[in-house]
């Protein structure tokens, strides 16, 4: 059984309910046990750090302190939201790197009778935990309804793989964890070139035009690659791409219809869980097409084995992609079987 | 007392267990030769004598004094100085006088602590917390007992020493050999070795006399002697048993290793070695088979109480001489 502390963050019960519901739904089958930490508070999202550092870090560190007390040094702290994940990791990192900051923050925490020793906690993103701790094998075991034929654009956003203080990801610019996970679900994963581009974050509030352009790029590219849906790991990305897709269309006179789903929702589908228990229908850009494309399909047969001999190469030979390190290589192998 | 043709012999027992005295008696018939060749003037354990008798003697009138035991209290110190004055040849006899030996281990603790422990542990029935006092008034007047020194010192830390005879206790055959030597010197048949030299021992180390097979060493883990069944023909250190033989002066015929126990180092450091423990630290550590700090630490965890391991006999005679609590107390 994999036990973790969960820091849900503010959005999970509101804008990202679909994420939370689907997460709860899939936790059991894959043996993921998340214990929400008591009395957590907002991570300050992206703005607070821009305004005043110490209180912002103190705000974040409070959660770390609570978690550290709860974890007996055993459990890792898991954040499903990229912003929360980055903030928590960032606070831990800089408190360690700059003892001065650590001291100030701890003074602040002391007021609440708390303290946090930097480095005493492993802060991890949900995707990281699912791919590396739960493992693709377990995932595949649970797949009863492979997402065969569903073209998905894996989209991580900018805050998960960067700056990646603890080197948890296969690559900072082009990580493949989400790709291999979705492949494991049987989906047809496109090589989405903008997987780590920015979704606009809070620019939707501050300077919509900027945000619209960023959103357009992401959706347009996914659309060009004929994706049926984009898959995110972050409530904010999901919200921006989903809620502002209409306005973006209006702004550019385009007419994109690109459902934005959480990877946990697709996992749920593949596990054969009822769409309603996975928060389907909460999205603004309807994902009905996704369900249809799966619903109509008879119990799908295993995808055709790849051809023995690679077909003759046109023009000049291409270089082989770089090994992403054994850990990821075997992931890729598992997917390929 | 009447002048005597025979040269005078003395032996004294300071802070030590008395094993050295037994060792001397263990030379069997040879003891008669001692009596035949020497006039034994002072040997508390063997015959009755008073300090004042010794004080009355002429300086340098004793030819040979075997001094065993470390300097633990002011009485030891007083007698050491007294015998130095009275003796031509003063021999630091046995590990205690040479390097402190087991009593020297007390130098790791504050002398208060020592007394406290001695008079106040579950094995001691002392309900009223009574501790000894250095002076006490009785009707006959004030009586005194010796005062503990904060740090146990070796003989040569308080007086000038002519010869050193190591061992806990010195091997009887070595004692016999030394006595033979002195006698043949008396008969003009031999020369005394240069002042300050170590007598009654070899000048390499125990391994020299150890019969066990040895190879290039590389230690992956340290073992306690009872923890494993050591190969009886192979070097103990190679089997992870911290055997002090490599650093310990030869002269004992490697008795312990021969009997299957590791050498604990009672013959002290080899010739010209400044710090016995340092030699062992350096040599043991050098052959640890790891370059990874954490693994090294793990391996070293197997070496329980390194200080005791390396300074069991040599603490008072080492460079550091004592632990922090003890020398902190020195100021008192």
């Amino acid at each position: 059984m994999n036990d973790y502390l969960l820091y849900p963050g503010c959005s999970m019960e509101t804008s990202a309910r679909a994420y939370y519901d689907s997460l709860k739904a899939i936790s059991k089958p894959i043996g993921l046990n998340l214990n929400e930490i008591e009395d957590w508070n907002c991570c300050g999202a992206t703005e607070y750090l821009g305004i005043s550092l110490t209180p912002a870090y103190a705000l974040i560190a409070r959660n770390l302190a609570l978690a550290a007390n709860a974890s007996n040094g055993k459990q890792d702290l898991v954040a499903p939201c990229s912003a929360c994940y980055l903030n928590l990791a960032k606070a831990d990192h800089y408190m360690r790197e700059q003892p001065k900051l650590g001291k100030m923050v701890n003074e602040a925490l002391a007021a609440g009778g708390l303290s946090y020793k930097p480095g005493s906690l492993e802060v991890r993103h949900l995707l990281d935990v699912i791919v590396y701790d739960i493992g693709l094998e377990t995932i595949e075991k649970n797949v009863v309804r492979p997402l065969t034929g569903l073209r998905v654009a894996p989209y991580l956003g900018c805050m998960v793989p960067r700056p990646d203080y603890e080197n948890r990801w296969s690559d900072h610019e082009y990580p493949i964890e989400l790709d291999v996970l979705l492949k494991a679900l049987g989906a047809d994963v496109i090589d989405y070139p903008l997987k780590t581009e920015c979704c606009g974050g809070h620019m939707t509030q501050i300077g919509p035009e900027t945000a619209f352009e960023l959103i357009r790029r992401l959706i347009a590219t996914a659309d060009e690659h004929e994706a049926d849906t984009m898959v995110t790991v972050c409530p904010m990305c999901q919200l921006n791409l989903d809620a502002y897709q209409g306005e973006t269309n209006h702004f550019f006179g385009t007419n994109y219809h690109m459902p934005i789903l959480f990877f946990t929702q697709l996992m749920g589908l593949a596990f054969g869980i009822e769409p309603k228990d996975l928060g389907f229908g909460l999205e603004l850009v309807s994902a009905r097409n996704v369900l249809d494309s799966l619903g109509v399909k008879a119990p799908p047969e295993t995808p055709p084995a790849p051809p023995k001999r690679p077909r003759k190469q046109e023009g000049l030979p291409r270089p082989k992609p770089l090994s992403k390190g054994p850990k990821v290589d075997e992931l890729e192998k598992e997917v390929a079987q | 007392m009447t002048p005597n043709a025979k040269p005078k012999f003395a032996m004294y027992w300071a802070a030590s267990c008395g094993g050295c005295e037994i060792a001397v008696l263990n030379i069997h018939e040879k003891i008669l030769e001692v009596d035949a060749n020497f006039d034994i003037v002072f040997w508390p354990v063997a015959m009755d004598a008073k300090y004042k008798d010794v004080e009355a003697m002429e300086d340098g009138s004793i030819l040979l004094t075997l001094f065993n035991g470390g300097i633990r209290n002011d009485e030891n110190e007083h007698i050491a100085k007294l015998l130095r004055r009275k003796s031509k040849i003063l021999v630091a006899f046995g590990s205690c006088a040479n390097e402190g030996c087991i009593p020297g281990l007390a130098n790791l603790s504050d002398s208060r602590e020592l007394v406290y422990t001695a008079y106040n542990t579950i094995t001691t029935d002392n309900p009223h917390q009574i501790y000894p006092m250095t002076s006490y008034d009785v009707p006959e007047g004030e009586i005194h007992i010796p005062t503990i020194l904060p740090v146990l010192k070796t003989l040569n830390q308080v007086v000038d020493v002519d010869y050193y005879m190591p061992g806990c206790p010195p091997e009887s055959k070595q004692i016999a050999a030394v006595i033979d030597l002195v006698i043949s010197v008396l008969e003009g048949k031999a020369e005394l070795p240069p002042k300050g030299s170590v007598i009654g021992a070899g000048n390499s180390t125990v391994c020299d006399e150890c019969k066990r097979i040895r190879n290039i060493k590389s230690i992956k883990s340290f073992e306690r002697i009872w923890g494993i069944a050591p190969d009886s023909s192979l070097c103990l250190l190679e089997q992870g048993i911290p055997c002090n033989g490599p650093a310990t002066r030869s002269g004992c015929d490697a008795r312990c290793p021969a009997a299957g126990a590791q050498c604990i180092g009672c013959y002290g450091p080899a010739e010209d070695v400044e710090d016995y423990g340092a030699r062992l630290i350096s040599s043991f550590a050098s052959v640890i088979d790891s370059n990874d700090p954490e693994e090294i630490d793990k391996i070293l965890d197997g070496l329980v109480d390194p200080t005791g391991q390396f300074y069991r006999f040599n603490l008072a005679g080492s460079l550091l001489k004592a632990g922090v609590p003890a020398w902190k107390k020195e100021k008192a």
Binding site: - | L108, T307, L319, K328, K331
Partner: protein
Amino acid sequence: MTDQFEPTIIGFTCNWCSYRAADLAGTARIKYPPNVRLIRLMCSGRLDPTFVFKALASGADGVMITGCHPGECHYIEQNYKALRRFHLMRRTLQGFGLEPTRVRLVWASAAEGAKFASEVASFVEEIRSLGPLHWGKNNGKDDVQSPTQQSKPEIAEVPA
């Protein structure tokens, strides 16, 4: 001189890396406190624990052992021997009731003059905070403030 405690530190360097690091600190005019006095060995592998004990017993308040980075030893791997000895030496010193931090091991390549200087500076600070050792005056004359004041049970006056 201010009345703040100025520790005396003996430093051991290897001929190839750390001594050259000290040279570099010099040529680059990087300042560091004057409390450390260096001894040049050919290699940190020459570092005999005896030297460290000698220094501590003779009045040094701390000892700094330096050498090439692991894997960069001019003698290929001898600095690893220094590493092993360092670990055992520290454990032994602890047995003597001595703060293990009074002996520090520092890797500095010939290019790391700045690192060398900052290591010296931080070590001096560390020793300063520990206070004087004065083991040298171990023979019963002077007042010695012990760095480790562990409280003893209060007991009746005993001979001491």
